[in-house]
Amino acid sequence: MSRIDINKTYKLFIGGAFPRSESGRVYEVKGSDKKFLANPALASRKDLRDAVVAAKSAQAGWAGATAFNRGQILYRIAEIMQGRSEQFVEEISALEGVTSKVAKLQIEEAIDTWVWYSGWCDKLSSIAGSQNQVSGPFYNFTTPESLGVVAIFAESKPSLLGAVRTLAPVLAGGNSTVLIASEAYPLPAITLGEVLATSDIPAGVVNILTGKTSELYPWVGSHMEIDGVDVAGLSKKQEEELRLVGADNLKRIARFSAINHPERILSFMEQKTIWHPIGI
């Protein structure tokens, strides 16, 4: 008799821990072959609230780490993902119905994406900052800083890459995040959470929710502690609605066309200009 596999319970990732939804709800995720794959948690608005609390409390520490240190940690994520390739291959193949070769390519690209953004951390202010020549005896410079808590609606497909593409730039800029995984393809995002939990990224900097996008996006839009949103995984209509309610605290909301681009980082950063007199 062949051995019975131990299947993983896919849970949420909040504040460095893997809780179930406070609501106790799960939903069924099927593979491309329509067969049952898993019952991930169906996050509620209260889970979102908890995730934002975790993100908020972790943000200052993450933003306050040196850019070099953040770059090291993003690179570390790439290293750990490399070692976990196999599990991602299985999940991606099952969900997306692609060959393991195609799945592997996606994982490699995701790993390379971490490496690419890792290298940006300590170069951003050189590229996006400036020393401004004002007319007067003042030293004046502008430098990018983190925005705060950024919510991400990850793209559906490619499932892993879609999450990494949106997540890595937000982290590179020193933000903490609540990533809402693709409703249909959530499993690699949760496994990504497991990778993050064993990397050196501080607890709470990344929080991952699975569940119904349609249920969560209005709460994301109206949450006053969320400063920015990447709406990659939302429909146009949902985006418009989120923009409408997001105006209440003037959220920075963006959808990107360019795959890897520093603007993905900078769109979730603020520019701070500092003046100081020059004298004796």
């Binding site: 590229i127 996006a128 400036s130 401004n132 020549q133 004002v134 007319s135 007067g136 003042f138 004046n140 502008t142 800083e145 400063d227 146009k236 985006e239 418009e240 609605e241 923009r243 409408l244 997001g246 105006a247 209440d248 605290n249 003037l250 920075r252 963006a254 959808r255 990107f256 066309s257 360019a258 681009h261 603007e263 993905r264 769109s267 603020e270 520019q271 701070k272 200009t273 500092i274 003046w275 100081h276 007199p277």
Partner: protein, 484 residues
């Protein structure tokens, strides 16, 4: 021996040729509003009528946007960037030539002291055109891609506190980047924008590149909601800014918003005290406190608070309040009755909530709208006067014991436009500057502006930056983002 009271030294009004009425500036010409409606603009220092101004409604906005679109597609987007820049240089030069006239008209319409319009507003406005003129043919080096593209037609709405300067902040970068504009000045201060329209005519700016439409909030809303406008640039209140964000949420329009503030001005024990006192005065009483980035919350270290307050009160007693046209006036008129009422309303809440009000003894003119320089001590974070933007010459004073507490209080606001730091210790300044959640940090200075220096807020103080290389981004199409 008699006292050394400065005799009145009024600037001559003769230089200001204010017409009895103005039309809208559309397609390079002054035209009558289609409905023939108008409104009045007054001198807030005397309540005298200055001029009748054309009121633009939806159909006028439509005509202005059409003219801007036509100018964009047929002329402005096809013109070599170098030539575009030359028009901006011309504008800058003519503004300098006519600087005194602009200053006088600005002071008459706005109520700000002639010294400020003469020494700050007008020179800075001209400088903004000079600065951006030079960008026009260098955009590919600005870091927004090799072939940065303009957005098209930009709708711009500006406030009454720095009428011409805000116009320059808006129009100069928009034109330099290759856009055409429809600009709506504030209802109470339309005159220098209309004078600027004449400058455009003198400079030979192609018809329709700059359109000036005058009116009120309804006019502004028509501009925001016009379907052929690609971008909205707004400076004004946070409430209106949010309303604009909502209005454009289901459109392809982008926006830059420069909104309200409640800046903390932190004074540490090791500050250069006399210069800090000057900085506090300049921070809150410059332009009657009608400044979005005004240092309206003084947060001072407890062990120097008494000394600072004593010096501040002495210094406030020297502030010369009165006729804005007098060259020695430091604090002019409040821009409108409506604004004066608002200042009264919020300040009165300070009394009601138990804060202690102090103003120097002075006599305010009997006509016009006036408010004395005022400080409130004994203010706590929960008081309305510590949270809401007053937009007047009213300072709330709070204290702190440790640097950490200073930052905590400073950041405890929905706004994040600007902040001040006063300390002689470099490391402490950089530490505080990093902690403060604000887009502009003035250390050992306050209320300094420059075309090369990006300006704009964190949090609910706005979207985007104006000025400097960063300000160009708001007028160029993004390489990486989907325009909704």
């Amino acid at each position: 021996m008699s006292e050394f009271d400065y005799a009145s030294a009024p600037e001559s009004k003769a230089i200001a040729n204010i017409a009895s009425n103005y039309g809208l500036f559309i397609g390079g010409k002054f035209v009558e509003p289609k409905q023939g409606k108008s409104f009045n603009t007054f001198n807030p220092a005397t309540e005298e009528l200055l001029s009748k101004i054309g009121y633009a409604d939806k159909t006028d906005i439509d005509a202005a946007v059409k003219s801007a679109r036509l100018a964009y597609t047929r002329v402005w987007s096809k013109m070599p960037a170098k030539e575009r820049g030359k028009y901006l240089y011309r504008i800058a030069r003519i503004m300098q030539e006519r600087a005194r006239e602009f200053a006088v008209v600005e002071t008459l319409d706005n109520g700000k002291p002639i010294r400020e319009s003469r020494d700050t507003d007008i020179p800075l406005a001209a400088a903004h055109f000079f600065y951006h003129a030079g960008w026009a043919d260098k955009l590919e080096y600005a870091g927004f891609g090799n072939k940065p593209k303009p957005l098209g037609v930009v709708g711009q709405i500006i406030p009454w506190n720095f009428p011409l300067l805000m116009l320059a902040w808006k129009i100069a970068p928009a034109l330099a980047a290759g856009n055409t504009v429809v600009l709506k000045p504030a209802e109470t201060t339309p005159l220098t924008a209309l004078l600027f329209a004449q400058v455009c005519q003198q400079a030979g700016v192609p018809e329709g590149v700059v359109n000036i439409v005058t009116g009120d909030g309804v006019t502004g809303a028509a501009l925001v909601n016009h379907t052929d406008v690609n971008k909205i640039a707004f400076t004004g209140s946070t409430d209106v800014g949010k309303a604009i964000a909502r209005s454009i949420s289901a459109t392809k329009k982008t926006a830059t918003l420069e909104l309200g503030g409640k800046a903390a001005n932190l004074v540490f024990e090791d500050a250069a005290i006399d210069e800090a006192v000057e900085g506090i005065v300049n921070g809150i009483f410059f332009n009657q406190g009608h400044v979005c980035c005004a240092g309206s919350r003084l947060i001072v270290q407890e062990n120097v608070a008494d000394e600072i307050l004593e010096k501040l009160k002495k210094r406030m007693s020297l502030i010369r309040v009165g006729d804005p046209m007098d060259k020695n006036t430091d604090l002019g008129a409040i821009n409108s009755k409506e604004q004066l009422n608002k200042i009264h309303e919020i300040s009165n809440s300070g009394d009601a909530e138990g804060a202690n009000r102090w103003s120097p003894e002075l006599k305010l003119p009997s006509k016009g709208y006036w408010y004395p320089p005022t400080i409130f001590t004994g203010v706590s974070q929960s008081h309305r006067i510590a949270r809401e933007e007053i937009f007047g010459p009213v300072l709330s004073v709070l204290t702190f014991r440790t640097p950490g507490e200073a930052i905590e209080k400073a950041n405890n606001s929905m706004y994040g436009l600007s902040a001040g730091i006063w300390s002689d210790k470099g490391a402490k300044i950089l530490w505080a500057a990093r902690q403060l959640k604000a887009g502009v940090i003035w250390s050992n200075t306050f209320n300094k502006f420059d075309p090369a220096s990006p300006f704009g807020g964190y949090k609910e103080s706005g979207w985007g930056r104006e000025g400097g290389r960063h300000g160009l981004a708001g007028y160029l199409a993004s390489e990486a983002k989907v325009s909704k």
